[in-house]
Amino acid sequence: MAEARIRLHGLTRTFDGGVGVRGVDLDVGAGEIHALVGLNGAGKSTLMRLLLGMLRQDSGTVRLDGRPLGSAPWSRLGHLIETPLAYGELTGRANLMLAARLHGVPASAAAPMVQRVLTELNLHPYAAIRARRMSLGNRQRLGLAAALQHDPDIIVLDEPTNALDPAGVISLREALVRRAAAGAGVLVSSHHLDEVARVADRITVINAGRTIGTLNPHGVDIEREFFALVRSDDERTAA
């Protein structure tokens, strides 16, 4: 069996007050879009921060393409957690050039790569606009372009549809489907079953820091199933 792009085992990190994630097992295969769905505060962002090294786990393991975080293939990873990597004083194009360099792309290869992603995500009108003058949605698109432009093998996006208009959601969805078809493993989170979660190959539900079940992305009423799962978990915990 091929090594998973992302493999988490028994991942635990708790904070004062008891919040955090506990014993999470999760994997994302090559060519797979895996959606992590949970209500606000369920632990989605904490889980993503742990697998990207932004937090250190209390216990458990993270493997990216079979390697631990200390020797992970970072140049083959793209992510967006909370805030887009967009500096207000720089134009859209300059921000993408910097992101390319930080992802290990040589200066000579960066310019045509930026040009491609500007076209792919319809960002040409904002190429010469400073990020501080962009709307929240366009800054988010810029951050997504920065995460995706180097065609990474591992993609981790935390609530990527935040602030996007319907056209932005569709172009993101298509960009992710294209990259997954090329072999990338994609992990996306959402607090609701949005357009991106609906194109996922797998949907895992997270609640109170634990994975509590899965949903069939092709199910007829997955919204109802999602709330039923969360409610029964809450009742079980309260009992």
């Binding site: 921060r49 937090l55 967009a86 004083e89 300059a94 910097l98 930080l102």
Partner: protein, 255 residues
């Protein structure tokens, strides 16, 4: 850390710094502020303002290059520390304030490499500021009729350049504080605290042994600071530079 990743981080940090209003406006404010204040106070002291003469000390009342450079050095030591502290706080603290720090994780360019690139860009900028400042003060001297640069003036101009670069190096704790405190204000507060401590220790008479005050005393009162006292000065940027890299290496987004 490799040469390739450091080169990439330097390109990124240099691009950010050259586009930043904070860096440009601080450079202009510092240079123009010191030139205007040094020129005005030198002229006022030459005009016999006794209060100002008492405040600036004997070397500032001798007229010519000696007065101008003594005054410029006093203003640089205090104003420079604040200005350099602001820029360093911004360089490090803005990543937290703007939320861009999340984008600096999970990259082939490590966080300590990015932090080192910030410090190198900062050092290069401060060398540029020091050079421009000396050129401006020299121009000011000519404009105000201080005469040709001769006698002790060339050495005093070199000392002003050294003081500016050393002051920039002494502000490095602000970068560490901005990292530990996750924002700009802890860095700026640290620069102010260093400045206040230096003033108090100079008045108390122990300034030479306090690395944050030694370069200013060495510039304004040459001969009052020993070589061993000056040798302590590089320990500040080296210690806090290491602490900055360590803090970025160990950084967690847990608060």
């Amino acid at each position: 850390m490799t040469t390739t990743t450091l080169r990439a981080a330097l390109a990124v940090e240099a691009r950010k710094a050259t586009s930043a209003r904070v860096v440009t406006s601080t450079t202009i404010l510092l240079l123009v502020g010191i030139a205007v204040l040094a020129g005005a106070t030198t002229l006022a002291a030459a005009g016999g303002n006794e209060q100002l003469m008492a405040k600036l000390g004997p070397s500032a009342t001798q007229g010519g290059w000696t007065s101008l450079l003594s005054t410029a050095s006093q203003i640089t030591a205090a104003g420079g520390l604040l200005a350099f502290g602001v820029v360093l706080s911004w360089l490090f603290g803005r990543e937290f304030a703007d939320g861009t720090v999340t984008g600096l994780f999970a990259l082939p360019v490590s966080r300590p490499t990015i932090a080192l690139a910030k410090l190198i860009v900062y050092l290069l900028w401060s060398v540029g500021v020091a050079t421009l400042l000396v050129l401006m003060v020299a121009g000011l001297g000519f404009a105000t009729g201080a005469g040709p640069i001769e006698g002790t003036a060339p050495v005093a101009l070199l000392r002003l350049w050294s003081l500016t670069v050393l002051t920039a190096l002494l502000a490095v704790p602000a970068g560490w504080a901005a990292t530990i405190g996750r924002g700009l204000l802890p860095g700026i507060a640290t620069a102010i605290a260093i400045l206040a401590a230096a003033q108090i220790l100079v008045v108390a008479g122990t300034g030479g042994w306090f690395p944050f005050a030694a370069p200013a005393l060495w510039t304004i009162f040459p001969g009052t600071v020993s070589a061993s006292q000056m040798a302590l000065v590089p320990l500040v940027p080296l210690t806090f530079g290491f602490l900055v890299l360590h803090a970025w290496h160990r950084l967690q987004l847990d608060r």
